[in-house]
């Protein structure tokens, strides 16, 4: 025992000495997201999340410091994001890249970081197979499959939906989302009677023609996937304006349609919506309540956090973990990946972990319902599914099962 204590002391002393031996270092990281244009609010929200984490955890890096250089990816496609990444890596010499709202942004960066071996922490981009494109990427956000399958099963088993119409924004995450939904829904005996592509992701369309079409099919449920951002409020309002609830059609979807930042603007239209998602700001955990409080203190009570903000926050937590692992030495991809594969964190959204195999996130998915309380709309968790993995990669469907680098 004595020997053990002595050895421990030596070990501790040694650790302290080595820590002291390393010099204070500034870690430069690049943050790429849409800061202007149609998706600016997403980029700004993600940046708020990241900055909040940095503010609350200043001491976590010891004497090392971190400098975040923000670049605007402007449009959804690859070119601008990629030019920003190239410049960040080669000129600013950043050691890690993070941010990335749109999938094509993340995809375009992949070949670049494969060359430079720069680690990437994806805070949002949702197309399922993205981590397969580079061994240097981890993702802390979500995949469409996580919420999609669960809401599909829930609809068939617990919401009395025999038939459903699925409306989706016509782009890969949208297709991922309805494929996941169909997988879950039809697996439990439901039937998807119509799939309606509702325009591309660039613009918020008038949803009326699509919802009218859905209405004319008389399903029990209408599953809707639209990207986070501008679309959510329009979905709820159209649903209400067309009196679809009266017609006996239930609106369900992933939590993108009840995004916290959009929720209050939806008005009574949103009451009763059932969604599956990895986060909403009304989660009861202590971590979340502290997080929401800190967020509102920082950005004002009228600027609530949402899952995009949490993506930024958790992403920055992962970045910190990687920097701590480097501890004064250069932050290589090897160090970062070693630290982040299997990394666990008590996030506002609940416990999360990076799957060491797929480098994708494992997290809880919550079934929630929107209710009105004291003049405000809130979400109530009805059911929690723990440690949900990405089904697409588990089942090795299409590109999800392939190594793409």
């Amino acid at each position: 025992m004595k020997k053990f204590v002595a050895m421990s002391l030596v070990a501790v002393a040694f650790t302290i000495i080595t820590v002291k031996a390393t010099e204070a270092r500034e870690y430069k990281i690049g943050f790429i997201g849409p800061m202007s244009g149609g998706a600016a609010q997403l980029g700004q929200q993600m940046k708020r999340g990241a900055k909040l984490y940095m503010k609350l955890h200043k001491d976590q890096l010891g004497k090392h410091t971190i400098k975040m250089i923000v670049r605007d990816s402007k449009r959804p496609g690859g070119p601008i994001a990629k030019a920003a990444a190239q410049e960040l890596i080669t000129r600013e010499k950043v050691e890690l890249i993070t941010g990335l709202i749109f999938s094509p942004n993340a995809m375009s960066v992949a070949p670049l970081v494969n060359k430079s071996k720069t680690p990437v922490v994806i805070m949002n981009a949702g197309t399922t197979f993205i981590p397969n494109m580079s061994p240097h990427m981890v993702r802390v956000s979500f995949t469409m499959w996580q919420a999609g399958v669960i809401i599909g099963e829930h609809a068939a088993s617990n919401l009395n939906c025999k038939t459903a119409v699925a409306g989706y924004t016509n782009y890969p995450p949208g297709k991922d989302s309805i494929n996941a939904f169909r997988h879950g829904f039809e697996g439990k005996g439901g039937k998807v009677v119509d799939e309606i592509p509702m325009g591309g992701p660039g613009k918020v369309p008038d949803f009326t023609p699509f919802f009218q079409r859905a209405k004319s099919k008389k399903p029990n449920c209408l599953y809707v996937f639209v990207p986070a951002g501008n679309h959510a409020a329009a979905v709820a309002k159209t649903y209400q304006a067309l009196a679809m609830r009266k017609a006996g059609i239930r609106l369900i979807g992933p939590g993108d349609i009840t995004q916290d930042t959009q929720l209050q603007g939806m008005g009574s239209a949103a009451v009763g919506l059932v969604t599956a998602h990895h986060y909403h700001m009304f989660l009861k955990s202590a971590e979340n309540q502290a997080f929401v409080k800190a967020w509102k203190a920082e950005y004002g009570a009228n600027n609530p956090p949402d899952f995009v903000g949490v993506g930024g926050y958790d992403g920055m937590a992962a970045v910190y973990a990687a920097i701590r692992a480097a501890n004064g030495s250069k932050l290589t991809s090897a160090i970062a990946m070693k630290a982040l594969k299997g990394w666990k964190f008590e996030s506002p959204r609940g416990p999360i972990m990076i799957d060491p195999e797929t480098r994708d996130i494992i997290q809880n998915i919550y079934i929630s319902i929107v209710r009105k309380k004291g003049g405000m709309l809130v979400q109530e968790t009805q059911k929690t599914f723990k440690a949900v993995k990405d089904k697409c990669k588990e089942l090795k469907l299409g590109k999800c099962g392939k190594k793409l680098y």
Partner: protein, 291 residues
């Protein structure tokens, strides 16, 4: 209730409501282009600013929705006057390319400008109670707001036609669209006419911007650019400077767009562009345009 009547009425009512919106916003652009020969790509910016004024009045100052629409009409009409006087006027005789450059510059600056003030989030609006909910007509139910759009649109169209056909200033505008030199030679002050029609057109755009908030999912900075395409299409299909033509074009495109998305959602926006191409190839000057 027959499913056929249901479908037909769905397409017509929703299509008509959208058509009214298209007309209200596009008519100003049509007049500007027909009367002054000016390619005003910043027309959508005035519509967008109208939307923001409406939202701000309703949500911040508690002004009733209808009053807010009127105020934003007047405000943007007035705001557009200095633009016409100090910017546009210099370019009436310059090339189309210069006009494109200036007005796209304005679009960029206005998008940035409203983001500085209101931020990038879409601004939403709560409707007054009398416009909430829907009306059940037996064979079909329609949102009250769409019915309101159609009625308001019809009144505006009627007012505009009356103004142009029966008033002196309307006659002057028609004369000037038809032949500017001739109009000037009979003593019409085309300079002042330009200013007023420009203000009127911008005000109409603002009205459309305000009316559109509810059905376009909120007003946001990129509005100025996103909907420009569709306004230009309406003007081109209708025939520049022709108000009747603009109305018919809005009607046809509004209804076809709705029907296309309703029956053929896979096609997305394809249908409306295909129709546009077809019409313009057969009648390059637009449905009712001058040859």
């Amino acid at each position: 209730m027959s499913p056929f009547l249901n479908e037909i009425s769905t397409v017509l009512v929703f299509g008509l409501a959208y058509a009214m919106l298209l007309f209200i916003i596009s008519v100003g652009l049509s007049i500007t282009m027909g009367l002054m020969g000016f390619a005003n790509l910043a027309h959508g910016s005035f519509a967008m600013m109208g939307g923001y004024v409406t939202v701000t009045l309703v949500t911040q100052s508690g002004v009733p929705f209808a009053a807010a629409l009127l105020i934003s009409f007047v405000a943007i009409a007035l705001l557009s006057i200095p633009f016409e006087r100090f910017l546009y006027r210099h370019l009436y005789r310059r090339s189309e390319l210069d006009q494109v450059l200036l007005t796209i510059g304005l679009v960029f600056a206005s998008i940035a400008g409203v983001t500085f003030i209101w931020g990038p989030d879409p601004q939403l609006i709560q409707m007054p109670n009398y416009l909430k909910g829907s009306v059940d007509l037996g064979f079909n139910t329609f949102p009250k707001y769409r019915i309101f759009m159609i009625i308001a649109g019809a009144m505006i169209v009627a007012g505009l036609f009356y103004g142009l056909e029966r008033t002196k200033i309307g006659a002057q505008i028609r004369a000037a669209v038809d032949n500017r030199t001739m109009a000037e030679s009979v003593g019409i002050n085309t300079d002042r006419l330009f200013t007023w029609t420009f203000a009127l057109g911008s005000g109409m755009a603002a009205l459309g911007g305000g009316l559109g908030i509810q059905i376009l999912g909120g007003i946001k900075p990129v509005f100025a650019f996103e909907y420009l395409v569709i306004f230009l299409i309406v003007v081109a299909v209708g025939g520049m400077g022709n108000i009747r033509g603009t109305f018919f074009a809005a009607l046809i495109l509004g209804i076809i767009d709705f029907a296309g998305k309703f029956y053929f959602p896979e096609g997305g926006a394809f249908v409306i562009f295909a129709v546009t191409i077809l019409v313009l190839l057969i009648r390059p000057q637009g449905l009712l345009g001058k040859n």
